[in-house]
Structures are given as C-alpha cells and as structure tokens.
C-alpha cells in the first residue's frame, strides 16, 4: 500500500490502541502504592539469607538466575548472528594507517583507556555490594578497548583484541554460566541454586555462587560488545578498500 494509506491507517488504529491502553492503565494501582508481596518479602529476606547488600543483584543472579541465563543466550545468539552476516573469509590483511592526527586526543585516549579498564573491573567486582554488576561493567570493559580505536588507530585496537581471544572469552562466559548451574546440581540441590561459603555481607567475599555468575556475565558481555564493534569496523575497512 502507498505511504499515505499506511499513515492514515496508522492514525486510526493508533487512536484506538491508545484509548485501550489508557483505559487499561487506569486499572493499575496508583503510582507509589505498590501492593505486591514478592518485592517486600525479597527486600526483607535477601540480605540475611544470601549475605549480599544489593537485593537487585541477588534477584538477577540467584532468585531469578534462570531468566538471566535466557538473556545471556539471547545476547550470545544475536552476536553470533552479526558475526555470521558480516564475517567473510579474510586473510591477514595490512590495514591502512589512519592515526588520529591530534596529539591531545591521543594523549587523552592513552591516559583514559587503562583508567576505564580499572573502573570496569571495579563495577564488575562490586556488583553485589553496590549498584553495578556484570552487565554494566562488561560494557565499560568493552569501552576501554573501543577508546583505543576512537583516540588512536585501528591497528592498535586490532592488535589488542585478537579474534581467538575474544571468541574464547565470550564462549567461556556464556558456557561458564550454564556450567555453574550444573555444578550446583552436582552438589545435590536445584539447577543454579546458591552454593559455596556465604561470607560476610558488605565485603567482596560474599554471596556464594553470585560472585562466579557475576564474573561469567562480565566476560560474556564485554567480549560480545568488542566482537560487535570489531565486525562493524571490519566492514568499514572492506568497503573503504573496495573504493566505496
């Protein structure tokens, strides 16, 4: 159908859908008067049971750890899809020199890339004590590598992220999450049930298996974003070389 017909059809159905949605929202409890029991029980029970301070991390990696396993595999599958679509048979090619010319930008990049790495590791490690965790810290770790491309040159970035290392890290992260669940089953409890010494709340040594799942998630998310960025940039190089 033509564009005008489509827009007119959308105008009509969007008003209908909007009215229906607004009427449905009126049946929800008032903003601020949350009345569910699950959240209140978790807020009261999670810190003494699991010895972690961040109840959100306990929910993500322990109470609803199975949902996080599903999310991890969504991430893994979509990155695999990008690699399948864009990865061609490439030999060892010499990339063009495309250094950033400005000295100030290069200096800032060299100074900040290790700092970003440390910040990423901090956010990952303290994920179950303060807000943070594997998902957030993993993206910061990937940004530390991407900063090398943005403030430097493509060759430096490629040399620090060889394909086999990134693939290995991502597979270890995704598989490690599933394997921790199996270890929990071998120890006699349910899949992904918390195991290990619970430690003292508020220190890095707490939470039991939450710490292992945190690290596995950070590995996978960081490697996934590095791989995504590498695939996209390789595509730019190929199209530049073919005179695009």
């Amino acid at each position: 159908m033509t564009r005008r017909t489509r827009l007119r059809l959308f105008a009509g159905s969007a008003t209908g859908l909007g009215a229906l949605l607004l009427w449905a929202m009126a049946g929800l409890p008032d903003f601020g008067h949350y009345s569910g029991a699950y959240g209140r029980i978790l807020n009261a029970a999670a810190p003494p049971e699991r010895h972690v301070s961040s109840v959100v991390a306990a929910v993500v990696f322990d109470y609803r750890g199975f949902d996080t396993l599903g999310e991890e595999f969504i991430l893994f599958t979509s990155v695999m899809g990008v690699a399948l679509l864009l990865r061609e048979v490439r030999g060892d090619q010499v990339h063009r020199r495309d250094r950033v010319q400005s000295d100030a930008v290069r200096l800032v990049g060299v100074a900040f890339a290790p700092l970003l790495l440390v910040i990423g590791l901090y956010v990952v490690a303290h994920g179950y004590i303060t807000p943070g965790g594997g998902f957030q810290g993993g993206v910061v770790l990937a940004a530390a590598f991407a900063l090398l491309y943005v403030a430097g040159e493509y060759r430096a970035y490629r040399r620090l992220t060889p394909a086999f290392a990134v693939d290995f890290a991502e597979g270890t992260g995704a598989g490690g999450y599933a394997v921790v669940g199996i270890v929990s089953m071998l120890l006699g409890s349910a899949y992904l049930h918390n195991f290990g010494p619970l430690g003292t709340s508020g220190t890095l040594a707490s939470g039991g298996s939450i710490a292992f799942l945190n690290i596995a998630t950070a590995l996978e998310v960081g490697a996934a974003f590095v791989l995504l960025f590498t695939e996209f940039l390789e595509e730019v190089e190929v199209s530049r070389r073919s005179g695009g």
């Binding site: 957030q136 993206v139 990937a142 940004a143 991407a146 960025f229 940039l233 199209s239």
Partner: protein
C-alpha cells in the same frame, strides 16, 4: 509524586518526540544519546540506580558506537 519526577517525565516525553521526528542521521545519533541521558535521570528519580547505570553505559557507549558505524557504512565508507 514530587515535582522532580514530574519534570523528568515531561523531559522524557519531549525527548522521545524529538528522536522520532529527526530525519538527519548524524543528528539522530546525537539525539538518541541525549534521550538515553534523560532516561537515566528518570530512572534515578524512580530510585533505580542499577537500571540507571545500565542505561547510562548503553546510551553512552553501546548504542552510539553501533549507530555511528552503521551511518558510516550507509554512506558508502
């Protein structure tokens, strides 16, 4: 509901409309980052620091890199 939350809600509504109505792609990449920042403020005011860190990291690093490279590729390298 405190006035800070009402202000954040209005800004997010404006930001979403602006992102949808932009056609120029470079401006779109920048505006989507600004929209992510407005969402971070909204999530913080709703007392959700974990979600705010997630959106901050994604809106500053993940999404702009991916969109930027897609724009470059669309123009033919």
């Amino acid at each position: 509901m405190i006035p800070l939350q009402a202000a954040a809600i209005l800004l997010v509504a404006l930001g979403a409309t602006a992102v949808v109505l932009t056609r120029d792609l470079v401006r779109l990449a920048l505006l989507s980052s600004v929209y992510a920042l407005l969402l971070v403020v909204l999530f913080l005011v709703f007392q959700a620091p974990d979600v705010a860190i997630s959106e901050l990291v994604v809106g500053a690093i993940g999404f702009p890199l991916v969109i930027g490279v897609a724009i470059v590729l669309q123009r033919g390298g």
